[in-house]
């Protein structure tokens, strides 16, 4: 189809499909009305049963923990895929940079930006660790905290310290962090089996609601997820960064 024809066909079909969608959506309860029962039951029983004050965390890591295991492996598979695609390419295209690189180079980072960026790394890392470790109590958890931790690595990048980044987070370490996190999730699942219960059964002591050490396996899984997500996202970003890195290195003002 030519672009023009395609656009017309699409608009005609989308009008029909959109009408159907709206028609079906009006069959839902009015916005703001919730009939349950799934969420209501969990809101009623989850805190007592899991000792985690954040019910979303109980759902994510306990009641529906197997969904989240799948989700972690989706991330794992995507990171592997990106690594396979871009590493193969990097081997082919890595070449000595030349003067052409100068005009593609981002403007040199000023010292002020670098200092601010580096000064932020500490607090961001702390915040990330806090978000990971309090996932069962307050909003947040392994995923959100993991992404925050990954942004700490980015701050290092933004402040122009690529070489530092390369030194502190070589691929092997990241690969390992990501794999340990992913395997850790399955291992916690198997812990349930080993204890004579089912896969992903929460067999650790539950403690008291609101305590940092409570909710049994939930914070442990959160930790595994945090490790995997942080490793995975830094890997994703650094795989994309790699090319920029090769080109930028000569003009760098470090």
């Amino acid at each position: 189809m030519t672009p023009r024809l395609r656009r017309r066909v699409f608009l005609a079909a989308a009008a029909v499909a959109g009408a159907l969608l709206l028609w079906g959506l009006t069959g839902l309860p009015d916005y703001g009305v919730y009939n349950g029962p799934y969420g209501d039951v969990l809101n009623r029983v989850a805190v007592a049963e899991r000792k985690a004050t954040n019910v979303v965390a109980s759902v994510t890591f306990d009641y529906r923990g197997v969904d989240t295991m799948g989700e972690e492996y989706i991330l794992f598979a995507a990171v592997l895929g990106v690594a396979i695609l871009l590493r193969a390419q990097r081997d082919e295209t890595e070449q000595p940079p030349d003067e052409d690189a100068a005009d593609r180079r981002a403007p040199g980072t000023s010292n002020a930006v670098r200092v601010i960026g580096l000064a932020l790394v500490g607090p961001v890392v702390l915040f990330g660790i806090y978000v990971v470790s309090h996932g069962h109590l307050t909003p947040g958890g392994g995923f959100q905290g993991g992404v925050v931790l990954a942004t700490a690595a980015l701050l290092v990048f933004l402040s122009g310290e690529y070489v530092t980044l390369r030194r502190v987070s070589p691929e092997v370490v990241l690969d390992t962090a990501e794999s340990v996190g992913a395997a850790g999730y399955v291992a916690v699942g198997l812990l349930g089996v080993a204890a004579g219960a089912t896969f992903l059964a929460n067999v650790l002591p539950l403690g008291h609601p609101g305590a940092l050490l409570s909710a049994g396996t939930i914070p442990v899984i959160n930790l595994a997820v945090g490790l995997e997500v942080a490793g995975g996202f830094v890997l994703l970003l650094s795989e994309f960064l790699e090319q920029t890195l090769v080109i930028r290195r000569p003009g760098e003002v470090t």
């Binding site: 029909v16 197997v66 082919e92």
Partner: protein
């Protein structure tokens, strides 16, 4: 409760993470062996589950969250023979594919093995799950692994393009599935298939049910490659590496069909039970898919692309079996899908062997170059017969049951469709076999573009046992499905449970074991179907002969055939020339059409 239900998912995921984590220190052979062994163990576990589920579904609540008052708090695997058999098929194909790849060296090998195991785990989880959102998660898991596996062969530029279209079109399909899940959740507050079915059974097929059905079906049709949702498939399947193609052609499209059938029977069968026209709407899609796939298959010269379109056409045949909406049809479709998957897996390996030894897969350039490869030729011919559905292949029994269902449902014309479509796909394969391995046929055009750089020359003369054995084993398994004693009855029993929504719900939500086989099934007539299968194979042979020796045809007949065939071929080729934009446009067109039809027949 023992963990046999959870292990075939947990084990490959654990090994995948270990392989990737240990990649820098793990020797290549050890990683290969671990991957093959894991796939084999998954196969055995799935077989154990299959055996257990014959006495009623194996229900496994993760975390021990058994339902309270009919409300599922957690996620369950609800394993029935259909799901377990499909998971076993995936395990067998993965083991065969990984064995085949033993001798093929690739730089990013360990990462690749890790991805293959994640892919397998996703498929198995999808087959075993009894929760709609959990099915979505596993659907995305094997899909993401599949996108990456399609595109990574960087020596073949087309594979990246194929992977992009594959990933974008299928992601749109996944979005629609999730939209359908959200609609159902808004209405019922449930995600468990059995509980959803119970909730919907209380009401009529109103607008929300119709649109949720539309979204879920279209999403799964994209994965199954039902026309017109199939435009992404050929490039993805044909240009993917052989190891991956075996699983794609053998099981991935089938998973889309499985989901269509599973979700229809567990969730929608009660409100949609009285809808007369639904069967017609589904059959329309099935017929279009079977014919478009069959004709496109015959038009291909690229061997893997030929198999890709054979997949499309056979998806149409299988969908026809399910679309009859009777247990016998479902039984036939399931048997057909299993045996057909094994045959296509074997054929994909045969093409992989040709590619590995002759560095090309275009039948015109390969003319006569396969004369020294009798094994590969034999595999191709046997595979073509398997596709034609000749006894003793399992595909024959599947078709026999589907033909019985067609008669039962008052659609005897479907038998004609089965004969023609099987003839088209086997003709394409027989023609290619004759040309490549016997050098038959008029010489191809001289100005064909050369295969990619560094791909010329016949280096390897003999196929290695690790390459031949998996293909032979897969074919033997397809024959075993056809010869297994009592398999027709077992398939019918399984299909009766598969289509029995209240019994499924009781088993999952209340732990009530399903009743055993209700009554003896009437004997499936095999004489007629055998005759049709032979007609199909002969027709295929005849078509292949005509394609290879058009000069033997009387002048006038040839002229007439050309006038009839060429415009059809030109139109179909033109339609299949598009990229991502076309693919997604057709998806929306198909959604609008299917939705309108369903809305009309329900009202």
């Amino acid at each position: 409760m023992d963990a046999v239900a959870a292990l075939p998912v947990a084990l490959p995921l654990l090994v995948a993470a270990a392989l990737v984590g240990l990649a820098p220190v793990c020797p290549r052979r050890a990683a290969d062996a671990a991957a093959v062994a894991t796939a084999a163990v998954v196969t055995v576990l799935c077989l154990v589950l299959l055996a257990r589920s014959l006495d009623g579904p194996v229900v496994y609540w993760f975390g021990g969250w058994t339902p309270r008052d009919g409300i599922a708090l957690g996620v369950a695997f609800a394993v029935d023979p259909v799901g377990a058999a499909l998971a076993t098929l995936a395990g067998v194909l993965a083991t065969a594919a990984l064995t085949f790849s033993w001798r093929i060296f690739e730089a990013v090998r360990t990462l690749h093995q890790g991805l293959m195991l994640v892919f397998l785990a996703g498929i198995v989880g999808f087959c075993l799950s009894g929760d709609l959102f959990n099915m979505f998660v596993f659907y995305e898991l094997f899909s993401v692994a599949a996108y990456a596996l399609t595109g990574y062969r960087t020596t073949n530029p087309g594979s990246v393009r194929g992977a992009l279209n594959f990933a974008i079109t299928n992601s749109v399909g996944a979005i629609l599935v999730l939209g359908g899940i959200a609609l159902l959740y808004g209405r019922t507050g449930a995600l468990n298939l059995a509980q959803l079915g119970q909730a919907l059974a209380r009401g009529p097929a109103d607008r929300l049910v119709v649109v949720a059905f539309l979204l879920l079906m279209v999403g799964f049709f994209v994965k199954a490659a039902v026309v017109p949702f199939h435009f992404w498939l050929a490039d993805a399947y044909a240009l993917a590496p052989t190891v991956v193609g075996v699983l794609f052609a053998g099981v991935v499209s089938e998973l889309g069909l499985y989901a269509v059938a599973r979700v229809y029977w567990t969730v929608f069968s009660a409100p949609l039970a009285g809808v007369e026209g639904l069967r017609g709407v589904l059959l329309l899609g099935a017929v279009a898919t079977a014919l478009v796939g069959g004709v496109m298959c015959l038009l291909q010269h690229h061997l893997a692309r030929m198999l890709a379109y054979a997949t499309v056409s056979h998806v149409g045949l299988t969908l026809a079996g399910f679309a009859l909406l009777v247990p016998v049809g479902a039984a036939g479709a399931v048997l057909y899908l299993l045996a057909d998957g094994l045959v296509k897996g074997s054929l994909f390996i045969a093409v992989g062997i040709v590619d590995h030894h002759l560095h090309d897969v275009d039948e015109r350039r390969l003319q006569g170059r396969g004369r020294h490869m009798p094994w590969a030729a034999a595999l191709m011919v046997a595979g073509a017969l398997g596709l034609a559905g000749v006894p003793p292949f399992g595909t024959f029994l599947g078709k026999a049951l589907m033909e019985e269902a067609a008669l039962e449902a008052g659609a005897p014309w479907l038998i004609g469709l089965f004969v023609v479509v099987a003839a088209l796909t086997s003709a394409a394969l027989l023609r290619a076999t004759g040309r490549v391995f016997l050098g038959l046929g008029p010489p191809g055009p001289r100005d064909l573009p050369a295969p990619g750089p560094g791909r010329a020359g016949d280096h390897h003369r003999r196929a290695h046992p690790t390459q031949l054995a998996p293909a032979v084993v897969l074919l033997a398994a397809a024959v075993a499905v056809g010869l297994a004693p009592g398999i027709i009855d077992a398939a019918q029993d399984a299909a009766e449970h598969f289509t029995d929504r209240p019994a499924y719900a009781a088993a999952v939500l209340e732990g009530v074991p399903e009743p055993g086989p209700a009554a003896a099934h009437p004997a499936t007539p095999l004489g007629g179907p055998a005759l049709w299968a032979v007609v199909s194979a002969l027709l295929g042979l005849g078509l292949a002969f005509v394609a290879l020796r058009p000069d033997r045809l009387p002048e006038r007949l040839r002229g007439g055939a050309t006038r009839l065939w060429d415009p059809v071929a030109a139109v179909l080729r033109g339609l299949h020339d598009g990229g991502i934009g076309d693919s997604v446009t057709w998806l929306v067109v198909g959604m609008a059409t299917f939705g309108t039809l369903v809305a009309v027949v329900v009202r």
